[in-house]
Subunit: 330 residues, 2 copies
């Protein structure tokens, strides 16, 4: 099934060079992938001239990292992420991929692509490497303040993603909390717990703690975006720091030899814990697929983000979410 993806060529640390190379890799690997590369034709046109299934869509500049995202997208509708979002809104692309200013990508997706009916706040779904399979964390940083009702929506967004894109069956979910008692926490957490627990369409397993992030205790961890982002970054940072320290400690002939012999195993675990496995995070709840790629994405990260976006398109992620949220409202 074809998937048409609008890729922000100007977003990311090494843009446009790394983005262009990633896109070329992605279309070479997937014969049903079409890419609209959004940016300055003078900068990117030559690199993709004559490449099948890659076209350039002209735009203005990129949103600066220090800009206020909502203002930037409103003030400069011709910026690269703005043009990419409108291609999705207008049906010329099925999905949006950007490694640029993540706040601007969020703002463009919400303001220009638009929310799905029944979704009050789109939310970012990060995928954590659980012990027995992927674990979805939603919201991973899109929303700073979140009501109990929105946390309930996030549970549905996350379960739709886990089942329809990641292929997990009968996904279970838990509410990120401190302490194990399900009703523990402030008023908002108690309300969210009551709403989610009372919903027969969700397989709710109660509270989960930060230490459950990688143990596959549940398939979907539901959180507000602040705590969710802290959790995601803490897992990434701790894994990186643990391996850095092992390398630093592996000195002396015995330990150095041990390090060499154990290297393939250490690499497997390190790569397994690497957030770049998926190339980015899906923004759930918009009228189109949107993937926010890592800002430091190298070409293979961009290629992965394109593949990841195509998976969302082929699973009809927006349609699946609409069906779930529609049933919720009924």
């Amino acid at each position: 099934m074809p998937a048409r993806i609008a890729v922000d060529a100007l977003g990311g640390d090494d843009a446009p060079a790394s983005v262009v190379r990633g896109v070329l890799d992605a279309v070479a690997a997937d014969p049903d992938l079409e890419v609209l590369l959004v940016g300055d034709p003078e900068l990117i046109g030559d690199a993709v001239a004559g490449v099948p299934r890659v076209r350039v869509a002209a735009s203005g500049g990129r949103v600066a990292q220090e800009a206020d995202p909502v203002e930037a997208v409103r003030a400069d509708p011709g910026c690269s992420i703005g043009v990419a979002a409108r291609l999705v809104r207008d049906g010329e692309a099925d999905a949006l991929v950007s490694a640029g200013h993540s706040g601007a990508t969020l703002a463009a997706a919400v303001l220009l692509v638009g929310r799905q009916a029944g979704v009050s706040r789109p939310a970012l779904a990060a995928v954590l490497p659980g012990a027995t399979g992927p674990t979805v964390l939603v919201d991973a940083g899109a929303n700073l303040d979140t009501s109990a009702r929105q946390l309930h929506e996030f549970a549905h967004l996350g379960c739709a993603f886990a089942e329809d894109v990641l292929g997990l069956r009968e996904a279970t979910c838990g509410l990120l909390a401190i302490g194990e008692e399900p009703g523990k926490g402030d008023q908002r957490m108690k309300e969210a717990h009551a709403l989610i627990a009372a919903d027969p369409a969700l397989r709710y397993r109660g509270s989960v703690e930060g230490r459950d992030a990688l143990t596959s205790a549940v398939d979907v961890i539901v959180s507000d975006g602040f705590a969710g982002n802290v959790l995601l970054k803490a897992c990434e940072g701790t894994a990186r720091e643990a391996f850095r320290r092992v390398r630093a400690e592996a000195t002396g002939p015995r330990a150095a030899l041990g390090g060499i012999l154990l290297r393939p195993a250490l690499r497997r675990v390190r790569d397994d814990l690497d957030p770049d496995t998926y190339g980015g995070a899906h923004l759930l709840g918009c009228r189109g697929v949107a993937v926010i790629a890592h800002g430091a994405a190298r070409p293979h990260g961009i290629a992965r983000a394109c593949r990841y976006a195509a998976e969302g398109v082929r699973a009809d992620l927006p349609g699946r979410i609409a069906a779930r949220i529609g049933a919720l409202g009924a």
Copy 2:
């Protein structure tokens, strides 16, 4: 300098046996340590009979894990943690240690020992194993909702602890946030940033993210208790899971031999990342020293918690905090 510590003998998974053994180890190692062991004399009296510097203080039962902490402490003033807290309040002990219901310990410390003048909310200080030394995380879980002014207080509590107990010089601090821009976040975070940045008595380095927890980016990470607890647990859980996976992957003759040769280095890193290093967390801002030990604390964890509490007493932690907070209010 003598330190007199009231230890809740009934708190913790293996209490009273593990607590009694930990206390015996602690007093054997520190000739200036005195312990008031709080609990049922029939249960613990024989084990410490004739031991110098250990006395039993009679109490009722322990607070049940499922109890509401504030209600439990109010309803049963004779419970073990309640008696221990009153020993500190009445000047018969300098510090309180419990591995029991952490909410009940918090409630007893705040309600019975009492807050220091100028401290609106006592906060838990966890110590993270940073790359170049310890990093203080405050609040690590005592307070679920926190105002900007309280976050400002937490910065002072954490810096006092880092400098006076951990011996860090000219401690720097940062505000836990998502994204790097210091003013980013909701209104409360912006206000907290402004208050802390404007305070000449603090060495503020702006925002830190979850991934900075173990990199020694700052000496003190300031957070509300919810996100702080998520961060702490995520670091613990990720470190544990990373080592579990390395062990699971170290199969086959080459990797197994590598694992054996590298084992001392892996153990050093694992132990370095082990939260049990300190035996617990100091509750900062009460009129006495209070250490909340891990509920699953084994005897050496209890001994460490006692030593840790004694360090707080000998550093005159409450006095140092009073001086800082007094200067803040002036």
